[in-house]
Subunit: 312 residues, 2 copies
């Protein structure tokens, strides 16, 4: 039984919390979404679907003073919350502690490293997915894999995740995997959010397929210019394969837009645009999708009259 | 009293039909939208708003055989219907007749000229606007202006329009005006449709303002490369001024999307993309908006299960 802190109370935080609790680890979720945290304390983490058990005990906290020094942490907040979460962690992490980010997008590890020191921060890439059903309630996606880079101090956390049934692989070229996922994300997420469709529907017409190709190829060109090799030959066929394999999924960005929450567009398309600039590559497709989603977020904020009770 | 054929039964066709009928011309509307045509025959063209009269008599037809040889015609169908309408006109137009297109977008005059001969086809640019309320019912926008190029045989139609209270100016550089309107259209219409906002809301945040600027500047660069001078110095401030002046308007493209009808995206962004290619200019902003609206149209068609009762 190991103490594990999960930062976040959204879909992925609940998925990891439930599984770790199921294998008898002591799970604490640190969140800012009060309804989500209350629900966890009242009823545990609840799983929607046909699992053997449907509730798993965990402690939910919003107040840092209630958390003992943290040795192992998983970071599962949205990218735009990384800086705030890192500052919270800086106040409660053991000097020897380590936090593993399994977030989407680019730039999170850099923020963590700057605030917590490179030795205490690491990242992985995961293909697990989950959908938030309501406060404290999650529907797991299919099985996936977590890829991490070997790092001193990370082993105990990896062991806990393995005990909890997660598939883990250690890789040497994590940045290749980070970009592989980023390329997929920029080609699927903003388009599903703009067109209000499931992942698979992007394959249903030539126009959205063309847009997926343009976005993927553009991000792939930036990766190449940076000297990064993604884990596949052709970004376009890779993206089409993922859209087909996840045809019935509602992308995280469409989930965000539907509930009026901020999206991770800046850590996705925004990161591609910035990386492109650093190697003198224009990235108009990613830039336009960035602006369109940002405009959408802004219009939602206006129309929702600054309702800030967003979950994370 | 002059016989005038209006091709179309949508918002603009109703607006022109009502005004021409009000000054005692004999107006026939030729359309494919059966409900719209039936409504006109039953109750005349009805005007929503606080005009002195609210119904104006007109004949609505769907059947070409009921129309005597046409000397004067106004073309007010959507751009994607131009070819079909031109083929209908070819069967019923007097050899000395003339048709004036007041449509949006680029490419309509070329189609008309090919099918009817250059002498019988001409175009103008109008800033009048109208909103379709229902079959046969229209809400006029504010006053505008119609710009036409002098052309043999056009005078009788111009006289009828002037009698009906329309402001008309004759200009020598019509292609400059066509492009002026096109630049405004590509910067406002697709964005309002994608973001589901009124024209003025595009000015409410930096992201949609940036997108408007990018689209306008890109189309402006194509016009310059073609040697065409729009009627304003700076496309960006021109577009912002129009968005402010029409702040409460629902753009025609957003009206189309909301009622599940095809849009004029191909005659707008599509035309800019093709014109750009002809002068070796990349137009990624217009291309992406073209693809996004085309994807949207395609998804609507699928979700509406091929319901083809679209008005025009």
């Amino acid at each position: 039984m190991t103490d594990i802190l999960i930062v976040g109370s959204g879909a992925m935080a609940l998925l990891f919390g439930a599984r770790l609790a199921a294998s008898d680890h002591k799970v604490t979720l640190l969140g800012t979404w009060r309804k989500g945290i209350q629900a966890i304390n009242q009823s545990g983490i609840r799983i929607a679907g046909d699992l053997k058990r449907d509730s798993f005990p965990a402690q939910g906290v919003t107040d840092l003073s209630k958390i003992p020094p943290v040795k192992l942490a998983l970071l599962l907040v949205k990218s735009w919350q990384t800086e705030r979460a890192a500052k919270q962690l800086a106040r409660i992490m053991d000097p020897e502690g380590i936090v593993l980010s399994l977030q989407n997008g680019l730039g999170n590890l850099e923020i963590l490293g700057e605030i917590l020191g490179d030795r205490r921060a690491t990242q992985g890439v995961t293909t697990y997915g989950a959908t938030l059903i309501g406060p404290g309630v999650v529907r797991p996606g299919g099985e996936g894999i977590i890829s991490v880079q070997p790092q001193p101090g990370l082993d105990p956390l990896i062991q806990c995740l393995k005990q909890s049934g997660f598939s883990i692989q250690e890789v040497e070229n994590l940045s290749g995997l980070v970009w592989s996922k980023l390329i997929i994300n920029v080609a699927i997420n903003p388009l599903t959010a703009l067109l209000n469709v499931k992942n698979g529907q992007l394959l249903d017409n030539k126009y959205s397929k063309d847009l997926m190709s343009l976005a993927a190829r553009e991000a792939g060109n930036v990766a190449s210019a940076l000297g990064i090799e993604p884990g596949y030959e052709d970004p376009v066929s890779a993206v089409e394969a993922v859209a087909a394999a996840t045809a019935e999924n509602i992308s995280s960005m469409l989930q965000d837009i539907r509930r009026g929450a901020p999206t991770e567009i800046d850590a996705m398309c925004g990161a591609v645009v910035r990386a492109g600039r650093s190697v003198n590559l224009n990235t108009p497709v990613n830039e336009i999708m960035l602006l369109l989603i940002q405009a959408r977020e802004n219009i939602m904020r206006i129309s929702e009259n600054e309702n800030n009770d967003n979950n994370e």
